[in-house]
């Protein structure tokens, strides 16, 4: 087991920065989720840990050893690729034991460890098949088995669930989490799915355009996002962001005054107000809006409203609430205790005095 540390790591491809000055410490035994939109540099970060890509600047260390100049095969990390990257010409047994053969593990122990890994992932009956004869979910589990059989210092997983259907995805998600908790192996898990991130990670690192935005435990990230990007990226749907103005502890949204428990330490002026869909409700009085769309989700519904200036606000309704119709004029009430304020220019969250 080992921690993984990034010290000012950057990676440029043809002059364009894919990863920009990354400082990040992945704790020993932790499952850290790397979350961000497509192209933000997640895979590049993983590949630099694996040694498949050399950093342009900075140092990567695994277990307090700087590995910038260490060959991939000597880093003792196992990677699960997005495409699975199984060896198509080998049976599953051969696939899973391939890393052990390279380590010259004796045949008897090899067989024992392969059987154990295959058993853990429910592949016991399939060991004589070839990858071509498996479903996507089974291949996925073979890729995981090939990683865990090695008992490496670090697991690297690059969107391993992205090719699975919804049911299988939820099941495999749980499998990976329980496996990781049981083995206690330091894991960096890449995804652009925020539900996966929230449910799997001890902590989540959010990236955007090669820059780290925030690292925090899932609930902290959800409740106290560092900026508007993190706020809108997490949650489904994400946080509503509405232009407003603040003066002391009073926020004015579209002419409606909302009194906060405590105000931010900034001069009066424009701000961006953040409201989670569950912190907003339809009420007899509040911010005037028009219903644009109602999404029924079974247990709940999302009512999408447009404010007078056109800003969209999503309101989450419990099942029993009466559903408005399209085009209805409604009023939105927000819970002052759950409001967040962001700087109107930089998007950074403003601390509210307690």
């Amino acid at each position: 087991m080992a921690r993984v540390n990034f010290e000012g790591v950057s990676k440029a491809f043809d002059g364009a920065l894919a990863v920009d000055d990354l400082h990040l410490d992945v704790h020993d035994g932790e499952l850290l989720v790397l979350l961000g939109p497509s192209g933000c540099g997640k895979t590049t970060v993983l590949r630099m840990v694996a040694g498949l890509e050399d950093p342009t600047a900075g140092t990567v260390s695994i277990g307090d050893v700087i590995v910038n100049d260490v060959e991939p095969k000597d880093r003792d990390v196992a990677m699960v690729f997005q495409s699975y990257a199984l060896y198509p010409h080998m049976t599953l047994r051969r696939n899973i034991e391939f890393p052990l053969r390279q380590q010259k593990v004796p045949a008897a122990e090899r067989a024992r460890r392969v059987d154990e890994a295959a058993g853990t992932l429910g592949l016991g009956d399939l060991l004589d098949r070839k990858p071509g004869q498996l479903s996507g979910g089974q291949r996925q589990r073979v890729a995981l088995a090939r990683a865990i059989v090695r008992d490496p210092q670090v697991f690297l997983m690059d969107e391993p669930l992205s090719n699975l259907d919804a049911t299988l995805r939820i099941q495999t998600r749980a499998d990976i989490v329980s496996l990781q908790r049981r083995l206690g192996t330091t894991t960096i898990y890449v995804t652009h799915d925020q539900v996966e991130a929230m449910t799997m990670g001890h902590r989540i690192a959010v990236m955007r355009d090669g820059r780290l935005q925030q690292v925090a435990a899932p609930q902290d990230l959800y409740e106290r996002p560092a900026n508007t990007f993190v706020a809108s990226f997490l949650g489904s749907p994400g946080m509503n962001l509405v232009p407003a103005s603040v003066d002391g502890a009073v926020v004015t949204v579209d002419g409606t005054r909302v009194e906060l428990p405590a105000g931010p330490a900034v001069a009066a002026g424009p701000v961006t107000v953040g409201v989670r869909p569950e912190a907003a409700s339809l009420a007899p009085e509040g911010i005037a809006a028009t219903v644009v769309l109602v999404e029924q989700l079974g247990a709940e519904a999302h009512v999408i409203c447009a404010l007078v200036d056109g800003t969209r606000v999503v309101v989450r309704q419990e099942n029993r609430a009466a559903r408005p119709d399209l085009g209805d004029a409604v009023a939105i009430r927000v819970d002052p205790a759950q409001l967040l304020l962001f700087d109107a220019d930089t998007g950074a969250r403003l601390e509210l005095g307690r």
């Binding site: 694996a50 040694g51 498949l52 991939p72 095969k73 880093r75 990390v77 196992a78 990677m79 690729f81 997005q82 495409s83 990257a85 199984l86 060896y87 198509p88 010409h89 080998m90 391939f98 890393p99 390279q102 380590q103 070839k130 990858p131 071509g132 004869q133 498996l134 090939r146 090695r150």
Partner: protein
């Protein structure tokens, strides 16, 4: 219904119309000579050219197949193929692996390695002929003077001629192998690197198996290429010496029978034999290819 059918008819009509020029060329220059060849094989030519050939049925086929010159030619052909194809394939693979690196200037190496494909057989034969010349060639320069000279030597003439074919096939083989390497899934190779595979294991356990469809393709192409060698032999050895130096591979004996001995009947029999061997060989290889080197669903 009938509107649909008439439209389909019109489409077929158009298809045949568009195919017609190509079909015509094939019919005149391939299909007709191909069929005519079978007829030629049934007629024996008299020893004096100019007299009419007469029908002998399968008699001529039997006598050609039983002749020692045919057997010698068959042995030469097989030796030749065995010398050209494996060396060409393995050489091409090694060059391709060596050049499959993202190093500046590698494009020039690729250009040089693949250049033998576009060199004409005649030019290659003349250059190699000079190198093998008993007076001004490479060996005398090194102080080695074999007797008789290489290209007149029953033991060395065939390997010498096959060397040129290897050299030429190397370029094609390199191009095929490079294309194969470039289409390999990068992540599988990277996974193997992370799993601890060193260069040797990587090559034998991962690259070569993944490349097996390409290798088989190269084997088929190379074999057909080797069976069709002609220019090297004609330029370096010529018909007078080829019987003596055992370089009369099948295709060359067809040419000898037709142009030197003026005997279309025998040439026809030999060419049918050549055709049959290549056909059987290709079918066997394709069957093998289907069975052994496809990975369903990958």
């Amino acid at each position: 219904m009938s509107a649909l059918r008439s439209r389909r008819h019109r489409e077929w009509g158009l298809a045949y119309l568009l195919l017609a020029p190509a079909l015509l060329v094939f019919a005149v220059f391939t299909f007709y000579p191909f069929l005519r060849n079978f007829k030629l094989a049934l007629y024996q030519n008299p020893p004096y050219p100019g007299l009419p050939a007469h029908y002998v049925g399968l008699h001529q086929v039997g006598s050609v197949l039983a002749s020692t010159s045919f057997h010698q030619s068959l042995v030469s052909t097989l030796l030749y193929v065995v010398m050209v194809v494996p060396v060409g394939l393995i050489g091409g693979l090694l060059l391709a692996v060596a050049a499959h690196k993202a190093i500046r200037g590698m494009a020039w190496f690729r250009l040089i390695f693949s250049s033998t494909v576009v060199t004409s057989v005649a030019v290659a034969a003349v250059v190699f002929g000079t190198l093998m010349d008993p007076v001004v060639g490479l060996l005398p320069w090194l102080g080695i003077n074999p007797h008789p000279a290489i290209l007149e030597n029953p033991t060395w003439a065939l390997p010498a001629v096959s060397l040129i074919a290897v050299w030429q096939f190397l370029g094609l083989s390199f191009v095929i192998m490079t294309a194969g390497l470039q289409s390999l899934p990068d992540e599988v190779l990277e996974a193997a690197r992370l799993d601890g595979a060193g260069g040797w294991t990587m090559f034998w356990r991962v690259t070569v198996p993944l490349l097996s469809p390409t290798l088989f393709f190269g084997l088929v192409v190379g074999t057909i290429y080797a069976f069709q060698s002609f220019g090297q032999i004609d330029i370096l050895i010529g018909p007078q010496n080829s019987q003596f130096t055992h370089t009369d591979v099948l295709l060359y004996s067809v040419y000898q029978a037709l142009s030197i001995q003026d005997n279309p009947g025998v040439a026809a029999v030999l060419s049918i034999v050549l055709f049959t061997i290549l056909l059987v060989f290709t079918l066997v290889q394709l069957r093998f290819l289907e069975r052994r080197v496809t990975y369903a669903g990958n």
